[in-house]
């Protein structure tokens, strides 16, 4: 089975601080992608960062970075220097490269306060 678990329904952080969102996954595939998507109140889904499972190096995108632990099937998102615009729902997702089944977690609501 292909599953994604996000155990933090809500997180809060103050502006300029660092926050880490947790995600664990399960898949029987060897080749897959992992993603973090952001959903602001507009409901638009925005790709934050992606990681290819065969790449050992953790992906980074400006203030966003991941800690990818393949053996533990863990894929956490670190947001540095948090900004008010980071307030949103964040979804972790996995995509198997075979039939490209794309599965999401339940999401973490992040609130960044001044």
């Amino acid at each position: 089975a292909q599953t994604v678990t996000q155990s933090q329904p809500e997180m809060s952080v103050q502006e300029a601080e660092t926050v880490t969102l947790s995600c664990t996954y399960d898949t029987s595939e060897n080749n897959y992608y992992l993603f973090w998507y952001k959903q602001p109140p507009s409901r638009q889904m925005i790709l934050v960062i992606r990681q290819e499972a065969y790449k050992q190096q953790n992906a980074t995108e400006n203030r966003f970075s991941v800690n990818f632990q393949k053996a533990a099937k863990s894929f956490s998102l670190k947001i540095s220097d948090s900004q008010l615009g980071d307030t949103a729902m964040y979804f972790c997702a996995s995509l198997n490269t075979g039939f490209q089944k794309l599965v999401f977690g339940t999401g973490t609501r992040l609130l960044v306060s001044p």
């Binding site: 998507y37 790709l47 979804f91 997702a93 490209q100 999401f104 999401g107």
Partner: protein, 114 residues
Amino acid sequence: DAGITQSPRHKVTETGTPVTLRCHQTENHRYMYWYRQDPGHGLRLIHYSYGVKDTDKGEVSDGYSVSRSKTEDFLLTLESATSSQTSVYFCAISESTRGGTEAFFGQGTRLTVV
């Protein structure tokens, strides 16, 4: 812009009536998905398609059917709508580019079953 259009954007329907949601894409993508989004549940996969007439069930497929008779259109049908199917429905495609694989989403359809 992956050229994904969902229609209708909003719909109110009565219990027991059939409802069809349409997802249209302009970029000839092979993989398409239907999700429902509910508070506390994140995005749950209903059905997905990996080619014309090739579809598979997701985790919440009961009460839903899909059809894909041509590449650009992926239809989601609620044969007999129930109040539990009140939700926001998202269509998505996955695309492989030089930068990697990414999913793109439609704007969502808010369906209310009364």
